[in-house]
Symmetry: C2
């Protein structure tokens, strides 16, 4: 057993409400470099003011969207299933939030499902589980021509025998896309409802736009609170200069520092959130800068499970990793660990009165302590509750962190030029 860690720490509570900190971020390191922090702050302030990057303002522009969804929802009768047909930025955000907030979903609202992959096994299974009458298919694609998405939509149409000219087509299909896209024109032609993603909002930054808000609202997630959480994070950062974010971005992008950034999220509800983070981070920060290849590699882990997996590599492997822990102070559905002692297995007995959530949190804290002891770059995000408000804050926090890392690395965080080559090879081969 090593000696107690000396925590070099930088403790901030930047949101207080109901007397409790709703979102806490502890950095177990100290990086304060006032000059560099100021330069990065100036860069993001300039980007924000330029209005070239649209996601910054999404939390404030939700009111009209929410009214539009509510009005449209009135006409959707007996809806049991909303199926998002979309991939990448068009599905990951909604999936992340639906999984994270499923336990507080309004009762009696439809199930949210996803058709993301042109995988015959998944498609068959999903279509087998639903009927047409009570299902709505939401085609989500910024460009409106994503090959996988449109191909899956065609399979769905043939499976249920419903086609654009049919009079009930608009009861079962709707679109979320860029205004004026091919999909928007298609929607107009056949009378489908369509919602727009602002043109200056990239797919992976679009979860607080119609791409996430439409399916989540339909399926009983409190998107009003979600957007309020995003707005609060925006305010904390842009109006109060939340310096933990600036400091994290600076240390992550220091040359020769940890280039693998692990998100260790304690609860199964974060599994899809991790996947959202992986896309956001990898696709935004893996870029050529002139002749140089730069990038930070994201890894998503779930605690306590992955203490029995990847943790060994963090503890004893190369020091090329930072780790951000996410944990929830007050978990839903908490249950006590019974005060039972099983004969011969007394070694696994613990103190009376510990709940499952407490044990999960204590596992996180013990793991934090052990890796800080090893000198691994570590920070900890604690949500008071896994609710829509905290989720919105968390989403916006990671979007900001991504933008800050991109600015610090002097790359364009908002394009994805590297994936076009494979698409071209594919289309050259399969084009009709």
């Amino acid at each position: 057993m090593q000696s107690e860690a000396k925590f070099i720490y930088n403790y901030k509570i930047y949101l207080e409400n109901e007397g409790m900190p709703l979102f806490t971020n502890r950095l177990y390191f100290d990086t304060s470099d006032a000059k560099k922090t100021q330069i990065l702050w100036d860069k993001i302030s300039a980007q924000y003011s330029s209005k070239a990057v649209g996601y910054y303002d999404l939390p404030d522009s939700g009111e009209k969207l929410l009214l539009d969804i509510e009005a449209w929802r009135e006409g959707l009768k007996n809806l049991q299933n909303v199926v998002v047909i979309g991939v990448g930025g068009s599905s990951l955000g909604a999936k992340a939030l639906y999984s994270m907030l499923f336990h507080e979903k309004k009762s009696g609202t439809p199930n949210l499902r996803f058709l993301e992959n042109i995988d015959p096994i998944t498609i068959k299974k999903t279509l087998h589980d639903i009927g047409l009458e009570d299902s709505l298919f939401l085609l989500v694609s910024k460009s409106g021509t994503t090959l996988d998405t449109i191909s899956i939509a065609k399979i769905v149409m043939v499976h249920f025998g419903i086609f654009p000219n049919d009079k009930n087509f608009a009861n079962h299909f709707a679109a979320v896309t860029d205004e004026g896209s091919a999909l928007d024109k298609f929607a107009n032609e056949y009378g489908l409802k369509s919602f727009f993603i602002p043109k200056n909002v990239g797919g992976r930054f679009s979860v607080l736009s119609a791409a996430g808000v439409v399916p989540l609202t339909l399926c009983g997630i409190d998107t009003v609170k979600l957007l309020q959480g995003g707005a609060k994070c925006k305010e904390d950062f842009f109006a109060r200069k939340l310096d933990t974010l600036l400091e994290k971005a600076l240390i992550y992008t220091t040359k020769g520092a940890q280039n693998i950034n692990v998100l260790f999220s304690y609860s199964d509800i974060f599994r899809e959130f991790n996947a959202w983070y992986v896309q956001l981070w990898a696709e935004s920060l893996g870029k050529k800068r002139g002749d140089e290849r730069v990038g930070l590699t994201p890894v998503g882990l779930i605690g306590a499970i992955d203490q029995h997996s990847f943790l060994q590599l963090i503890m004893e492997g190369p020091k090329d990793k930072s780790v951000t822990f996410i944990r929830v102070e007050k978990m839903a559905d908490d249950t006590p660990i019974p005060d039972l002692s099983l004969k011969y297995i007394e070694k696994a007995d613990i103190k009376t009165g510990i709940s499952a959530a407490t044990l999960l949190n204590e596992q996180a804290l013990a793991t934090i302590k052990s890796i800080v002891n090893e000198g691994v770059l570590t920070d900890e995000i604690t949500l008071e509750r896994a609710d829509a408000f905290c989720a919105g804050y968390l989403i916006y926090y990671f979007e900001l962190l991504t933008s800050l890392c991109g600015l610090s690395l002097e790359i364009d965080a908002y394009g994805q030029p590297g994936v076009e080559i494979g698409k071209k090879i594919l289309l050259d081969k399969l084009k009709r």
Copy 2:
């Protein structure tokens, strides 16, 4: 568009059957170094002969286990749910294979579920979905005292009001553990059926032992074929010296080479297999070697979905990654992409007669081509079918590759000393 890649390639089919290659591994690189290959071969041959590492022989020792399971199964009436309570090596293997082979599960067999995490939300949801009468809880733990596993078991007992002294306890609980462990003694005391994991088989290498074979057999997976696949890989390697494996291990463990090893698996059925690979790789190969920290970092991706995510980082980010593609030539439940053209979205039209599986495979091939063009270290595994035989082969292939990398790095691939510190911190705090 870059010019056509020059494929430096090393094409091997090492299993032929029914006139088709069932398992193909193409290396898009050339590393032949006869001397190093021979040294590594000698090392693994010595380890194999020593019998210190038990997983090598698991595929040959399944017959007795399978008979034992069959005999016991007779007495389990009306079984609808088998719930594995276990974590890490005690759950990931069974989960990987159940997901990969679900489409060929025998009909009328129980569902396989997992309680891996001391997460109150997941536990509540799982227990809500099942009843006691038709459920069997399989406690899987090598040591028999894993804190999470035993705590979850206690919650299950209290939830259903069933305890060790009850006369029907042995109808609903069974154990998979090391012979003589605390859990084995508990099982003996209360008349539970128990199966043993050989002492010289580590948890993350245990999927072809009782840890995987018991739940999979009960739930309708063809474990006879699974073990045959493993045995075939064993034979191909140890009797025929499968040199792609030796060459891959050598190039992965060359100093200064790619230290992030991406597994890019094309089909949703591989999601849990990726998680199994991540544990196997990270926990086996992240080790201190004297004062030096060594290790290879695994990343699991799903195609075609993650072409819209992590691919950008592979294409343009630092050249610190190798990529292994897995794809399935003939997929179950294949479906044609309808020969429909949607007005305004004609850009997404493809040739007539392409199926979903073909499009998925063509996406894999286009992606392989584009990353080989970028000079990324790439290889490709093609399964003719995703069946139990190929799955067994695949499992054994990755176990061998892990052992070879461990031997080449001169570390002990079979322990996990780094995770003990956190466990001790936790127990010091929570011990009764």
